[in-house]
Amino acid sequence: MMRGLGVVHAADVGGGAGAAALARALGEVAAATGQRVTSASSADVAALPELAAASRLIILATPAHTARVLARQLGDVVTGAHLIVHTARGLEPGSGMRVSEILREETCVLRVGILAGPLAVEGLGAGDPEACVVGSRYDDVITEAKRMLAGARLRVYGNHDIIGVELAAALGAALSFGVGIAAGLGFGRSTRAVMETRGLGELARLGVKLGGNERTFFGLSGVGARMAYGADDGDESFRYGEALAKGERPATEPEGVRAAREAGALAERHGVRTPLLLALRAMADGTRSPRDVGKELMVSVAVDE
């Protein structure tokens, strides 16, 4: 096996466009550090055997909803010697599974991880100093990702708490949706700050219940990503929340709305107290109005931080 980097990405259309752009950017970063990079799109299955033969580390750039199909295709060509890192910011629709769990179901690869954090494709392209975190139980994965990607343009941090990193990456967008609602209701920055901090606290509580580490949610994949993608009118989830608060319901649901549903469902399934996340889910589902929820949350009992 060669020791190059393989980058497999979802087809460059629809929800896969962002993943494909990230794949290209990461491939360029690796090439700039002198690595041999082999890329393939999910539309080009025939290229996968060659990619697997040339690479030890494979980056799987895909939205969560196409992860299983891609993972299964990869499963036909990878061996136990490979390492796979995915970039999905979501959970599998329906099952609520993390993408690393999907990789474990669909491939023989045990050494898996996630690349997350406040990484912006535009920033990478422009040569801005960027940073990300690779979450994996395995030192091998973190070390190899650093060897492939770290350099003058990108700092790569490691975290053994893969569960925490995946959940923070997958569910953080729910807060953009919530902050959008707050903005739509005309609330100011302090309300948004409460939404962000209490929301992250609830996500951390949920993450701990699912086996993650609380600290992870206050690192690059949690707070870091929130500060980068968070809540402004350049964000689709924010705009959707804002519109919802004004009585509109846009046709296309962004990732923050899906994340609100997933977070609420997980919290309910595992019996974790998350009033804010449950309220976001109710608003995503249309069973509660933003104005009612706002009033209700204000009169609910405030526990100690």
């Binding site: 096996m1 020791r3 030890r56 299964r72 499963g75 036909d76 061996t79 136990g80 010697a81 474990r104 179901e105 669909e106 491939t107 023989c108 045990l110 050494r111 139980r137 395995y138 030192d139 091998d140 190899e144």
Partner: protein, 540 residues
């Protein structure tokens, strides 16, 4: 003449060289760590031993306090000792521990046990046979059902080393799994047994002579743990089939093991790596998850009390439980095993040291059933395929997760578990909470009509069947009988053995008479998702 003891029959001839190899490996590794410096230096290793032993012995008898003083002296002298003196002290300790751990295998005792155990158990089950002559002793096979992937396990026993990893509920388990291995045509295994069990008059004779090695759980220092792990590694590497109870101790709650102790389990991977390094070809270490399933548990009362007293913590040694009282053991066997299929030993699909399923040809498969080469998991991308501690620890954790999943698939639920689960749900509904301690404090649990109980059992059985094996399986009798028959079976067992009944029938209703034992037997199903038991408490 063959004793049927397989590779273990050679143990005594190799015992000395096994102990020597363990000592030599540990000392070589410790010497290298000492030279690398840092926490691996011998003064730290010896100080760790002195610290733990002083702590332990200072609380003990006058003789133990004297020994504590000697450890104290060692700790005091460490800073003045030369490297050669420290190495000699480490060698002396390693030698002492390796000799203490090493087991013994007496083929004559094995042959005797092999012949006498079925007779003894059958006579206990059916004493009238004494009057009728020994008669048909095959009945025991009806009492202890042995099922599962037996052909695959037998085939793998001939290809490599088995590491059998059963669930652990009772001190009876060692005897039952030994009996099951023999009856399944599988070779006997060496296994680590708590040193406290060697004080049990019933068990110690068998333990001493059937390949058990002694594990002294009171010793907490790293050098002793090294000896245990290396001893196990050498045994597996040399092809001695091994058995661990990966839960560590008996399940106090009655539940299936959810988290496993990985220290000894990791020796399977290390043995595989060592064999590859020595030039061996192919996969040669196979883990075999086994569930031991009983209608009733011999020590249920002691175990659940211990669990409730120290939730989340396992007290390592219970010196005086039901298994140390001969009368209770015979009473248990006679009254509980006498029921058809009262014990089920189920062998699961074997696994490789990375947690992948293995077929009868010794081939590993990924979760989608594709054949894979396990050796490639050891690829480090650069220098080769040697051990890498952090990675290997994670692989062993993965193996542990696969074994837990196997337990959940292969657990066999009996009438007692089904009925206790429905009763418990009923009690939770009555208490209006699911917190077990609040439910257990209920002063006056209500009776449940037999019909409602049977309806709950029926619904629970349907859900387990509907999960297509993912939630475990029902024992044959509980699967086939009408639900009311299952209730009758459970109540018969519940009133047969324990010092007070678990639940009993009063008129047309059933009354839980020992909530803690209802909780204990219900815990066998506690790992199931809420959907398995939803609504069972509110049937009307």
């Amino acid at each position: 003449m063959s004793t049927g003891a397989g590779r273990l029959g050679d143990f005594n001839a190799e015992r000395e060289s096994i102990v020597a190899e363990v000592e030599q490996r540990i000392l070589a590794e410790r010497r290298a760590a000492h030279l690398r410096g840092g926490d691996g230096r011998l003064e730290y290793v010896l100080n760790d031993a002195a610290f733990h032993e002083t702590q332990r012995l200072e609380k003990g008898s006058p003789e133990e306090r004297k020994r504590a003083a000697r450890w104290h002296e060692l700790a005091r002298d460490l800073s003045r000792m030369s490297d050669a003196e420290k190495e000699a002290e480490a060698a002396r300790l390693t030698h002492e521990h390796a000799r203490d751990v090493a087991g013994n295998f007496d083929a004559r005792v094995y042959g005797f046990v092999k012949n006498i155990l079925p007779v003894g158990m059958s006579l206990l089950l059916t004493p009238q046979r004494l009057r009728e002559g020994l008669g048909n002793l095959g009945e025991l096979q009806g009492r202890v059902l042995i099922e599962g992937e037996l052909d695959t396990v037998r085939a793998l026993a001939a290809r490599g080393t088995l590491v059998v990893t059963p669930t652990h509920l009772s001190n009876m388990d060692s005897i039952v799994i030994g009996f099951a291995l023999e009856r399944a045509g599988l070779p006997p295994c060496t296994y680590g047994a708590g040193k406290n069990l060697f004080t049990n008059p019933i068990l110690s004779f068998f333990m001493r002579n059937l390949g058990a090695y002694r594990v002294d759980r009171r010793l907490r220092h790293s050098l002793y743990k090294d000896v245990l792990k290396e001893y196990s590694t050498v045994l597996i590497e040399r092809g001695f089939h091994s058995l661990f109870f990966p839960g560590g101790t008996r399940s106090r709650s009655g539940g299936l093991e959810q988290k496993l102790k990985l220290g000894l389990m990791g020796t399977g991977l290390r043995a595989y790596e060592n064999r590859l390094a020595a030039g061996a070809q192919g996969l040669s270490v196979f883990f075999v998850p086994v569930t031991l399933n009983y209608h009733l548990t011999l020590e249920a009362e002691t175990l659940i009390d211990d669990y409730l007293a120290e939730v989340g913590k396992s007290r390592y040694i219970i010196e005086d439980d039901e298994s140390s009282r001969f009368g209770r053991v015979t009473s248990f066997i006679r009254k509980t095993l006498a029921m058809e299929g009262a014990t089920v030993v189920r062998f699961g699909q074997p696994l490789d040291p990375f947690g992948n399923q293995v077929d009868a040809e010794g081939q590993s498969h990924d979760p989608r059933g594709r054949r894979i080469d396990p050796e490639l998991f050891l690829d480090d991308g650069a220098s080769g395929r040697g051990p890498v501690t952090q990675r290997d620890n994670e692989y062993t954790r993965t193996l542990g997760e696969s074994i837990v999943k196997a337990y959940q698939r292969d657990v066999v639920y009996m009438a007692t578990h089904l009925v206790a689960t429905v009763l418990w749900e009923r009690m939770c509904a009555q208490a209006g909470v699911r917190d077990p301690f609040r439910v257990l404090r209920m002063a006056d649990p209500q009776q449940v009509s037999s019909e409602l109980l049977a309806a709950g059992v029926d619904r629970l059985r349907d859900r387990i069947r509907g999960a297509n094996g993912a939630w475990g399986r029902l024992d044959k009798r509980s699967a086939e009988r009408p639900a009311m028959g299952v209730v009758d079976d459970a109540l018969r067992s519940f009133t047969a053995y324990h010092s007070r009944p678990v639940a009993e029938r009063r008129g047309g209703a059933v009354v839980p008479t020992s909530l803690r034992l209802v909780y204990y037997y219900r815990n066998r199903m506690a790992h199931l998702p809420d959907a398995a038991v939803a609504g069972l408490g509110g049937l009307s």
